[in-house]
């Protein structure tokens, strides 16, 4: 379970608190929504829940944030990546740009962890299958549509085998049709037991996917 207990966070050098204090729980297999106006702290909440703030971003965290009983402040970024994946709203940023196939792009994370080759292949296939994008495996990552890119970015996180995902406005750059594709994928991911935190403006998507929605 990801648990935020009176968590508040401010970025390095900032006087104002960007988030909180907020308490929140995310259990395996459930989808929890986060909504709020622009600048209300949705993206910051995703960073804090995934542990990358402050582990990679720096800044000050008050209160307590735990992933499966371990305080995120005790974990290094690569250890956090195996526990909770963070998806940005812009897939172009999330994709490395270093690979010529979607397959290799998805394999990037497991390869970073030094996993044995058969394990990497198994994880990549599993991630592509869960998101139903196996047909994209040999496509060039830079020649995908926005929705496809977002799904590939999500597959790249899933391949790391996280128990949780924090998705920062995953459909904000997509049209309705492609948003529906991503929403379907999120539902499938949750069915595999992954807990998903979704920060979104799209009320219909939140209503469709989430067991509860937190207002910021």
């Amino acid at each position: 379970m990801i648990a935020l207990e009176e968590a508040a966070y401010r970025y390095p050098g900032a006087a104002a608190w960007a988030l909180g204090p907020i308490s929140l729980e995310l259990r395996p297999g459930e989808v929890v929504g986060v909504r709020g106006a622009n600048e209300s702290g949705k993206s910051t909440l995703c960073l804090v829940a995934s542990g990358l703030a402050p582990a990679a971003v720096g800044g000050e965290l008050r209160g307590r944030v735990e992933v499966d009983g371990r305080a995120t402040s005790e974990l290094r970024p690569h250890e956090l990546a195996r526990r909770c994946g963070l998806l940005f709203d812009n897939p172009a940023v999330q994709l490395t740009g270093l690979h010529r196939t979607v397959y290799d792009e998805v394999a990037f994370g497991p390869c970073n962890l030094g996993m044995p080759v058969p394990v990497v292949h198994a994880r990549v296939r599993s991630a592509l299958d869960v998101l139903a994008i196996g047909h994209l495996a040999e496509r060039h990552p830079q020649r995908l549509s926005g929705g496809e890119s977002q799904l590939v970015a999500l597959a790249g996180l899933l391949a790391l085998g996280p128990a949780y995902l924090a998705l920062d406005e995953p459909t904000s750059r997509l049209d309705a049709e492609r948003s529906a594709l991503v929403a379907d994928a999120i539902a499938r991911v949750a069915e595999t037991g992954v807990g998903v935190l979704v920060a979104e403006h799209d009320e219909a998507l939140l209503a469709r996917l989430c067991v509860r929605v937190v207002d910021l």
């Binding site: 990546a81 994946g85 740009g97 996993m115 830079q142």
Partner: protein, 242 residues
Amino acid sequence: MRRLRSSPHRRTALNPVTKLAWAAAGTALALAWGGWVAAAIVVLAALAALRAGRLRRVAVAALALAPVAVSSLVINTLLPAGGGGLAGALAALLRLLGATLPPTVLFATTEVDDLLGELEARGLGRRATLVVGTALAAVPRTQARAAGVIEAQRARGLDTEGSWWRRLRGVQPLVAPLVIGSLAEVEERALALEARAFGAPGRRTLLRRLPDSRVQRAARWAIAAAAVIGLAVRAALAVAAR
């Protein structure tokens, strides 16, 4: 799942590191020697491109040198300070072609991720690999971003077509969003890499190794030795000539 691999390197069957060694040596020797050495390197590069079926692509890339060639011609034939004449201009162009064609052929016949993978397998660190790869990917990425900015500025009424003066005036509103956007993206990219365990300790897994052979390894050493000897001889001749 079937892994389809269609890669230009298959056409040459040379390991990317062998091609890199050749390209680096060719560039260095062409710059140092010019003349017949540069001419030989140009011919070798053209033959390599022909064999790989990339001659047209390399020739198009070489056209980028046209402005430099024209400048060299003007400086050497028309300006008193140049003084090399037509022969000097051609010599300068030959040296330039000799220096630029080998890396052009390398990248026209090699996928960047193949090259980086092979370098990483030989001990190049993951951060160095990322820096090199990101630098090589920066051009198409910047082009794509610029296209987006141009579209956005056009939608706001900016005239980017017509006379050269109008196009020139259109550059200013393009540059600021391009630079600022690129800088802002750097931080997000760094975070995205952390989210994908890029900072994990130890060696990365390499999904594939490309064919290499004892002959190619020997060839790389020979190329390196030839380059070192060639540069040393050139330096000694230059010192002796003083």
